[in-house]
Symmetry: C2
Subunit: 214 residues, 2 copies
């Protein structure tokens, strides 16, 4: 499994499945790499959600890339969190705190309607906890037009960079500041749709997520 | 250029270079897709910065993926911004506001030391405006151990999803709330390094970026 071996200096490889799951559960956008028909590698950003030992993605049955993934094209999925700027005393040592997971494998399309429905429920709850109880679930027609893909969490790598500037003594003795600037990703105040009927209150799921980390 | 043609329903393709540049200038993490030696597509998150008509990335000369990109492996680079949750009255219509650019092509390694230095200066300023005047610039040895890649912004696609829930009339007439929940990405308060010498004030670049959007 050479492609899951970390070879870079100064990156910290982790085999901690709990740490992997925390990353996969806190970042809602993933990037799939796959090969186009012409052999060129393409990258496809899409919403993702973890469901136990697999990652779920969904899209329209009209999407060529989704269909290609569903057909079992070899793929990689990256889930990345940019956590802080690391401000060192030199340009060379300046870097980022980040967590980065890459999962390798092939997607399987979910075909059983009940399993698709459960998977889409999982996506709804992952993106907006509590929303499932408030929202209209898919009709059979909507379900039929949605492709739901599962990628097993089996072959993966996780890199975590959480450190401080690693400046040599001569730079530490100099006048430059060093530290980190954390990145905060939070949900802002909800904005009602222009066509929302009067008298419909902001639901619990939306109230609770306001000002919480994404 | 079939791979830059948008085929998905309900996505808005943009050919607006100004809009592309605004996205590329506001997101600092990109995802490269390329092919591994075994033919499997891999995805590589890395810091990126726009320099006119090209995207810059850099890394250690010890990084196999960087060397593969430097050797001219066909590649795609995605730069993605997740801007809001779109909370519709049904699970099916719920989605995200996002901006997503994908650039296709081949990277070129910068070999001229002066050009490399200028490119790394551009990266420093893109990530933390004003930092260049405060920081020690690379030594010849540091420069030699850094691979700097340029990807031309020539063949690209841009998708912008900025809309409101698109619920059918029967759902709009129902009791469910609809709207958007914006995602705010901001820099928090700087944290000094544990080995920072006493009496070194927080520099202007770091003061100015606090509480500003990433």
């Amino acid at each position: 499994m050479a492609r899951t071996t970390i070879t870079r200096l100064r990156t910290m490889a982790s085999q901690d499945r709990g740490e992997l799951d925390r990353l996969l559960d806190s970042v809602h956008i993933g990037h799939f790499a796959l090969m186009a028909e012409d052999g060129h590698p393409v990258v496809l950003p899409t919403a993702v959600a973890r469901d136990g030992d697999r990652m779920l993605a969904h899209g329209s049955t009209g999407s060529g890339w989704m269909r290609r993934l569903a057909a079992g094209a070899p793929a990689s999925l990256a889930v990345t969190s940019f956590d802080a700027l690391v401000v060192a005393r030199s340009a060379f040592e300046s870097s980022m705190r980040y967590r980065s997971a890459v999962i390798f494998g092939q997607c399987t399309p979910l075909t059983d309607p009940d399993e698709k429905l459960r998977a889409l429920d999982t996506v709804v709850e992952a993106l907006l906890p509590g929303r499932l109880a408030e929202v209209r679930r898919p009709t059979p027609k909507e379900l039929a037009s949605t492709l739901v893909l599962a990628l097993p969490i089996a072959e993966w790598s996780l890199k975590v960079s959480g450190g401080w500037p690693d400046d040599p003594p001569e730079d530490c003795a100099g006048p430059a500041w060093a530290g980190v600037i954390p990145v905060h990703v939070r949900y802002g105040a909800p904005i009602p749709a222009p066509d929302l009927r009067a008298g419909i209150p902001v639901p619990g799921s939306v109230r609770r997520i306001h000002d919480s980390p994404v």
